[in-house]
Symmetry: C2
Subunit: 140 residues, 2 copies
DNA sequence: GGCACAGTATCAAAGCTTTGATAGATATCA
DNA sequence: TGATATCTATCAAAGCTTTGATACTGTGCC
């Protein structure tokens, strides 16, 4: 309580992220996806056969969290999972055609938002924001 | 997939917020609190007797989400809830002494993080970041 | 070969969040 | 007074996230 709320830069970042997530959620919802599901599919399309653990690392969540996301994607028929050739302890994950289609729809909507954000700044301002956010993250 | 990941400013904000939340979570954990619980207590200490619905609006979450947070705070003896004088449909929420103590501990740890972040920038840079984030939020 | 280490998957518990639906109380206006 | 609108709380369902614990498999070193 020593620090006024207005002074806390963290609050601003949190609010910005909150608004961003709300907008993204609404966007990918048109494809029947949640944001974590969309994020997973986005990594998956460039890494066919990736393991759940590797996918979790890529998405910056725990393997347990990714397991739940994959379970739901599997239930909706957007991915397939099967045993790996020689790593018997691994499960290969692949996109289905339905998954590719959902990702295409969701990404189109998500890009609209990113584009709207990017267009709100000049190239110099974008660089500036990138730099400030990098130092923000670094400071933590 | 038309837009490279590096170009998406949203990703940078998300990553910054993710790191911030991880740090804050570790900080308030020393007081036995979660981040949402800490946020609720922070509003509560300045608004004694506030209703759960108003608290939810203040914290930018749904009343249902706040109900769960309050249930857990109640279970840990950090708050008290009782019927309102004339609004029989309202429940007044108040901090207990244990709640005040937990908040004091948690806030001290949280302020350390905010201070570390603030110190990473010059006053001009802080203003700049504030402005850019405001426009970021506005653009969405 | 045997052993420790790292990677993978999974179960369980606790907690946060949303949307949707229900029900009771208060306030406003015709 | 009565209808409408609004605010309150709460139940239910679905989903995401974390920490902690368990077990199996492959790799590298002795």
């Amino acid at each position: 309580m020593d620090m006024p709320a207005e002074e806390r830069l963290g609050l601003l970042v949190k609010r910005a992220e909150q608004r961003l997530m709300a907008a993204k959620h609404a966007a990918v919802k048109t494809a029947g996806l949640t944001v974590p599901q969309y994020a997973a599919l986005l990594v998956l399309v460039d890494n066919p056969g990736i393991s759940a653990a590797a996918l979790a690392r890529e998405c910056l969540v725990t393997p347990q969290a990714m397991t739940v996301v994959l379970k739901n994607l599997l239930g909706h028929g957007l991915i397939e999972r099967g045993p790996h050739q020689w790593h018997r302890t691994m499960l290969e994950t692949h996109l289905t055609d339905a998954g590719r289609e959902a990702l295409r729809t969701a990404d189109a909507a998500a890009v609209v938002i990113e584009r709207r954000i990017a267009d709100a700044f000049t190239p110099d301002e974008r660089d500036s924001l990138r730099d400030l956010l990098a130092r923000f993250t670094q400071a933590i």
